[in-house]
Amino acid sequence: MSSHYEAPIRKPLVIGDKSYHDITVDVARPVETRANKQWWTVFTIALIAFLWGAGCMVYTIGTGIGTWGLNKTVGWAWDITNFVWWVGIGHAGTLISAVLLLFRQKWRMAINRSAEAMTIFSVVQAGLFPIIHMGRPWLAYWVLPMPNQFGSLWVNFNSPLLWDVFAISTYLSVSLVFWWTGLLPDFAMLRDRAVTPFSKRIYSTLSFGWSGRAKDWQRFEEVSLVLAGLATPLVLSVHTIVSFDFATSVIPGWHTTILPPYFVAGAIFSGFAMVNTLLIIMRKVVSLEDYITIQHIELMNIIVMITGSVVGIAYITELWVAWYSGVEYEQYAFLNRATGPYWWSYWLMMTCNVISPQVMWFKKIRTSILGSFIISIIVNIGMWFERFVIIVTSLHRDYLPSSWTMFQPTFVDAGIYIGTIGFFFVLFLLYSRTFPVIAQAEVKTILKSSGENYKKKRENENHSHNH
């Protein structure tokens, strides 16, 4: 018992009188039972949105990018906004699974599986946008370093857009193997509980024959640690490189050195908000409130508040640097953001991203389910507008006032965006009924140190020693 000591001041991470077997049963329940009516309702809505989006994508590819609201001045708009938004959301998963692992944060264990799933599903959405924006997606493989005979030239390794190809594909594939490696023991648990031959076969395949030998576990832990060490700089590099898409250009409002850290903070900010949105619903639907506790939500809220403040400081620094630079174009770009025709999107971004997370200073709000849920939605709206502000307001009034214009999205722009939200939820909902949504093997390792019943038992023992 003594080896499982944890300071009594730390709140329990697993609530209730749980044994190892209870954890198994609780995590396996959503997989082994049938989906309820609400699940089917939400799934149907998501599926319709996805199909609508797929239709819009087919229309775009069949007819051309002209179906979007782009024009000669605003050549990038919703597509890149959505791309950056989805990549940003993806960042929280790796942060929870990798950075918090390096910092030995036990609270990551109940949420890392779903956060990583969210990462993978949102990076898939992000990847769709550059591919359909190519216009001829069947030639997407041209972004790979192909020999000369394929086209006229090699790809350009000086281009941040190509760095993005490498960064996003490394990120997606490494996140996927990180996730899957962690899933093996949990799939094995489902396999060994399966009653029908069909599910037995499925989970047997998915678990790669995991047997849980002592040596396997030793390797498993080493691999997790090294992957966390690799994924930590990787996740920071991904959004840094996404910001290079803008920062290495000569467009006022984009050409700023603050963009990499500002993008990374924004990504973590929106990612944690999305984890909160998803988990607040999921913990309820699959009855895992004992594992994803109010404390987990509170800790995520604190991260949202901190990164929101970092983003706020970045916005203000940007303004200051624009003024201090003495560059007229730069100064105008920022003046135009705040007071130009797109002023409403700028102030929406400021309100949602800088002001709204500040309510998390109040313990009452950051421990309230409804409050956290509302703020998490507001933050993601704000972060979408942040990208819209950066991209569209910097482009719509360029160096040549005669080409100044506005951007008007078409139904296709909106349809594709809604479609990716639908696709994301389709994947997440399917995941939540077929995958072990909590890393149960890892939660079992902290049960004795952080389980409510064990903590109480220890406390009682201490009391009886004192008397």
């Binding site: 018992m1 190892y20 077997h21 198994t24 370093p145 000369n148 030239l153 090699w154 790809v155 350009n156 390794f157 000086n158 941040p160 190509l162 760095w163 490498f166 960064a167 490394t170 594939s173 490494v174 193997v177 490696t181 023991p185 094995a188 648990m189 396999r191 060994d192 509980r193 395949t205 998915l206 790669f208 024959g209 995991w210 047997s211 849980g212 030998r213 002592a214 040596k215 396997d216 576990w217 030793q218 390797r219 498993f220 080493e222 691999v223 640690l225 090294v226 992957l227 690799l230 994924a231 700089p233 990787l234 590099s237 490189i241 290079f244 093997a441 890892e442 079992k444 390792t445 004795k448």
Partner: protein, 174 residues
Amino acid sequence: MSTKVLHVLYNDDDVLMDAVKTTRAAHHHIEEVFTPFPVHGLDKAMGLKPTRLAICAFIYGLCGLSFATFMMNYIMIQDWPQDIGGKPSFSYIQNMPSFVPIMFELTVFFAAHLMVITFFLRSRLWPFKKAENPDVRTTDDHFLMEVALHGSEEEALEFFRNTGAVEVKVIDKH
């Protein structure tokens, strides 16, 4: 010829740890331990050597870094140098700041994937591989220690029941 092994089941990780220590002290040979989750310190208690996967990952990372360097040097400097924004196109080292992101990404890509592949091969994990845990409870809440049986069966059974086992079985292994 078949050899006999004992399957000793525990339902608590602390009991298992103590049992592993007493078993080794009594000079019984532990063939294998199957656990539902990583029991910290179990590998040391069993006398397993540390894994060298991290060293592999480092070497794979170096491979990725060299691959990125050779690839970009060949493509951008040797095969088809281009003047892009006036960046130096005839010297890798001078053009390198632009190549750092991809050098980094490929280092991570190679290190991560090759390490995981090595892990899967070494631990014999792949799709359609049959699981080898002898008891399905070892992925739930039971811990199984497989011990080679030498000498008297009765004595051994008695010994392991005293280590806090919830179940001791004699298994014929072919």
